[in-house]
C-alpha cells in the first residue's frame, strides 16, 4: 500500500453502532470498562431488553443515518434471560443476512456475536475486530447515496428536480 493509501486509511474513523441486549452483552461491555481493558472508541452502544427485540429495520436505519458498521450482540444460546429470545433472533438473522447478501448489501459490515456478562475481554475483541474490518472496507457511502432520496434518479424522468433538490438540501 502506498503512503497516500495508508494516510487515508488512518484518517477514516468508522462509525459503528452496536445493538446489544441488556443482560449479557451490555453487562459484558460494562465489565470491559471496569476491567480497564482498552478498546476502540468508535462504537455507540444501543441497549435492548433482548436480542429478540432488535428489529432488522434498526440495522437498516443505522446504515442510512451514517453507520459504517454494525455490531449485534446478546447472550449465548441457552443463556437468554427470556429463555429463547436469542434463538428467535438467530433465525431472523440467518434469513436477513441471506437476503441482504443476495441484494448486494455488504453483510461483512454487520458483526453478530454472543458476549456474556463475564466476557469483557471478548467484547473488546469483537469491537476491535469490527473496527479493523470496517477500516479496511472504508465508509459505507454506497448505501447512504441511495438514502439521499432525491438525488438518485439519474436515469429516471423525475430527475428534473435534481437542481431543485440541491438548492433545497443545501439548507
Amino acid at each position: 500500500m502506498g503512503r497516500l493509501g495508508g494516510a487515508l486509511m488512518s484518517e477514516f474513523e468508522p462509525k459503528i453502532v452496536a445493538f446489544v441486549c441488556n443482560w449479557c452483552t451490555y453487562a459484558g461491555a460494562d465489565l470491559t470498562g471496569t476491567s480497564r481493558i482498552k478498546y476502540a472508541s468508535n462504537v455507540k452502544i444501543v441497549r435492548f431488553p433482548c436480542t429478540g427485540r432488535i428489529d432488522f429495520m434498526l440495522l437498516l436505519k443505522a446504515f442510512a443515518e451514517g453507520a459504517d458498521g454494525i455490531i449485534v450482540s446478546g447472550c449465548h444460546p441457552n443463556d437468554c434471560h427470556y429463555t429463547s429470545g436469542n434463538f428467535h433472533a438467530r433465525r431472523r438473522w440467518v434469513i436477513f443476512r441471506g437476503l441482504l447478501n443476495f441484494m448486494g448489501i455488504d453483510v461483512n459490515r454487520i458483526q453478530f456475536s454472543w458476549v456474556s456478562a463475564a466476557e469483557g475481554a471478548k467484547w473488546a475483541d469483537v469491537v476491535n475486530g469490527t473496527v479493523t474490518t470496517i477500516r479496511e472496507l472504508g465508509p459505507y457511502t454506497e448505501y447512504r447515496k441511495a438514502a439521499d432520496y432525491l438525488v438518485q434518479q439519474d436515469k429516471s424522468i423525475i430527475d428534473g428536480q435534481e437542481a431543485l433538490i440541491k438548492s433545497v438540501s443545501s439548507l
Partner: protein, 332 residues
Amino acid sequence: MKKCFISLAGLQRWLNVLIDTQKHLYAPVNKGAKVDFGRVASADEIVFDHIQTTQSAKSVAFPRTDVLFSYEKEKGKVQLENADLTAYPETVVFGLHPCDAAGFNPLGAIFNWDYKDELYNARMERTVVITLACTKADEYCFCTSVNGGPGNTVGSDIQLTPVKDGFLAEILTEKGEALVKADEAAFEADRGDVKEKYLVKLPEKFDIKTVQEKLQTAFESPIWKAQSQRCIGCGACAYVCPTCACFDIQEDAHGTKGKRLRCWDSCGFALFTLHTSGHNPRQTQAQRWRQRLLHKFSYMPDRLSVRGCTGCGRCSRACPVDMNIAEHLRSI
C-alpha cells in the same frame, strides 16, 4: 401552424443540439423488457418502435416524489423555504403519443381548479412537448372513443408523424417554433405528405356520449360490484395514468429539520379514504372502482369540462388482473 419535413438523421442531430444546450431531454428508452420514459444523453438511445411506454409522461410536471418546502428549527425559530421554482430545468419530452400530450389538459385543469399549483405550472412552463403521431396501436388503445385520435395535436408543441424516409413535422406553438430555431437547418421544406395516410385506423370501442349519460344515474348500480370483483386494489392503474393526479402529503423529518413532500396516491387503495376515526366512507373495492370511473367520466367532465381519460389504455396493460377499462365502459 407550420409544416416541415425532417429526416431521422436530421431529427437526431436536432435533438442532440437540444441536449447540448442544457435542455433535459426525456424520451422512450429501453428499461429491461419494457419501454419507459427516461432522461437521454444522446438521441440514439431513443426507442421508436414501441406501442406505448409503461408510464405516462406526467411525471415531467407531476413527479412521483416532489419537495414542497423545507424547514429548519433553530433556537425556537422556524425557517421555511419554499421549493425554488426557478431551479426547475428546461425540459423537452420527446416521443410521447397524442394521448399522453392530451393528458396534460385534465392534469392542468385539476392543478388549477381552485388553487393554482405553482409547482405544476412552473414545470409545465419549462416543458416543451414533442409528440409522435401513432402509426400502430394495440388492442388496449381507445383514444378515438374519447374524442382523441392517433394524430390529435391537443397538448403538443410539435407533432411528428412518421412518413416515408422521415417525419412530417407540425410546428404548433411558439414554444415549438423556438425549439426548432436551435437547429433550423435540420428541418426541410414540407413535401406535401398526407398525414392521415400514415396514421393507424382505430375504430371506436364505445360511444362516449351514451356512456356519460348512463353514468349520470349509475351510482347505485350493481355493475360496480360485478366489475370490481377481481380488482385487487393496487395503485398500478392510477400510477401509469396520464391524468390521475391524486397525491399524499408526507413529511421527511430529521430531528429539527426536514422536508414536506408530495407523492402519488391512488383512490384504489383501501387506506385512501380511511378517516382517523376509523370510519372509511369507501369500504369496498366496488366503491373504489366506482369512484375511479365516475371521477374520470362523470365528475371531471361535469366540474372541469374535461374528461379524466385520454384512451391510452395504460391502466389496462398495467393491471395485474386485466381490468380492461374500455371493456368495462362498454358493458355499462
